[in-house]
Amino acid sequence: MNSFAFDFKRLLWSILIFVIAGIVLFPVFWLLIMAFKPDDVMFARPTVWVFSPTISHIRYVLDNGFISYLGTSIALGLVSTFLVVIIGTPAAYAFARFEIKAKDDLFLFILGTRMAPPICLVIPLYLIFSKIDLLDTFAGLTLAYLTFNLSFFIWVLKSFCRDLPIQLEEAALVEGYSRIDVLLQVVLPLLKSGIVATSMLCFIFAWNEFLFSFMLGGKAIKTLPVAIPLLITSQGVRWGELAFVGIAALVPVMLVVFVLQKQIVRGLTMGAIKG
């Protein structure tokens, strides 16, 4: 095979991938366009492609509580992720290293909370929270987010724990380290990248979450995803504003996607593929 033919083949495959990525990403690009499209050409038929961009949609969104939604989303994501890391890291380590009675069943049960449809958790949580005054509170919503993120974190981090060489820990135990010291001084430094990657995914899941904050946050605690249906009013749909909120919600997703890359496969397959 001469080098020209080789390059030609590569060119064809590259073009094909370019087309696939174009189809995948075009709607996102269109969302970006819509955020700046003036209302008078938005509904035009045929579709208007060239227009002078407007910032009126952005201004409307900013004037109507966008900053507070954004703040709530960020705070909720950070606090719930922090709790997940604190509780989940020792739990994942224990699952990876200790003999626990009915470990498989327990582990599967944890997966069950993650895999179940959110509505199955929202109905009981709503009833419980209404009895103990946690409805419409930040603390309540943080707790609710633990249901799916903590189980996710334990699952994925356990697969990272399993990859660590057990000999290091055994050596440390022989040296007279306690289990806690082994975890803090031997395991944690090795697990750091796994913890960072998994907790970033947890943040994104919290950031993306809709039904929990819609039902359990009520009028008091509104996150960015909940702001989206609010822009579909009885007076009409605020398309440009919707598009801008959608784009804003995409920013951390874009960042994480570029930072994590391969760990995402591991995360989204619950650790089934090492990536």
């Binding site: 709607p27 579709t47 179940a116 709503y126 598009a243 994480v256 995402i264 089934a272």
Partner: protein
């Protein structure tokens, strides 16, 4: 029936009996079955093809990989929003330029049509999850031992033979696990349905999640919806169990 906030008498199995006699419950299961069986096989086939393309020698692969993750990492509610805009009424980019121009559907938005709204939701799901399938299958393909492929090449196996005799069998456990994961996710889809059709028109796109939501938070039939949540959760638990066993035994994962 128990009103919200008050504790009623213990009713035994009556909520489950009501559920079994509720046509909408059976309808919702049928809707989800149709949805899964339309979306997931398409995602599977396209994803596998895409993974094999990604596996060729291509330029700037490092750039495409993260970009392809975007749809599956996006908030499902934003995915719904995206397609609401693309397919909106008579002026959306696709509804005007494709559906209307080629007379595929006249008079209504695709999400308001009895026959096609579920198909539209399935297409949205395909858009969102095919890249994910591509990337996971690609990751799986990359982890296969190179030596086997070298040996097959030396033995003069054709590309087709390599695919059917080597790649496919080696990737079967992985594909089983990923397929199951997708079935689970497709069954519980809620946000995009909430955004695009709210289960309508009528009950034609009412998934179990959507029905449970309406029953509990719109009609306040808490008992019945709780019974439904239990039933759905139990089904899920069984599927998860299979997912776990297959992953553990065949993939040596978890």
């Amino acid at each position: 029936m128990v009103e919200y906030g008050q504790v009623g008498e213990f009713t035994g199995w009556s909520n489950y009996v009501k559920l079994i006699h509720n046509d909408r419950f059976w309808n919702s299961l049928w809707v989800s079955t149709q949805f899964m069986l339309t979306a997931v096989p398409i995602e599977f086939a396209l994803g596998l093809a895409g993974a094999l393309i990604l596996n060729q020698k291509i330029w700037a692969r490092g750039l495409w990989l993260p970009l392809l993750f975007i749809p599956s990492m996006m908030a499902p509610i934003v995915v719904g929003l995206l397609w609401k805009i693309m397919l909106a009424g008579s002026w959306g980019l696709l509804s005007y330029n494709i559906i209307e121009r080629f007379h595929l559907l006249t008079g209504t938005s695709i999400f308001a049509s009895n026959e096609y709204s579920l198909l539209a939701l399935a297409i949205v799901d395909v858009w969102q999850w095919t890249p994910f399938m591509m990337l996971t299958f690609f990751a799986g393909r990359q982890s296969l031992p190179m030596g086997l492929y070298k040996a097959a090449e030396v033995d003069g196996a054709s590309n087709m033979q390599i695919f059917w005799r080597l790649t496919l069998p080696l990737m079967t456990p992985l594909m089983a696990v990923i397929g199951m994961l997708r079935f689970i996710d497709a069954f519980k889809v809620f946000d995009s349905i909430f955004m695009l059709t709210s289960g309508g028109p009528g009950v034609s796109t009412e998934s179990p999640s959507m029905l449970a939501y309406k029953m509990s938070f719109e009609q306040w039939r808490i008992g019945e919806s709780a019974a439904m949540a239990v039933v759905v959760w139990f089904v899920f638990f069984l599927i998860c169990n299979i997912f776990y066993q297959v992953g553990k035994k065949r993939l040596n994962a978890f």
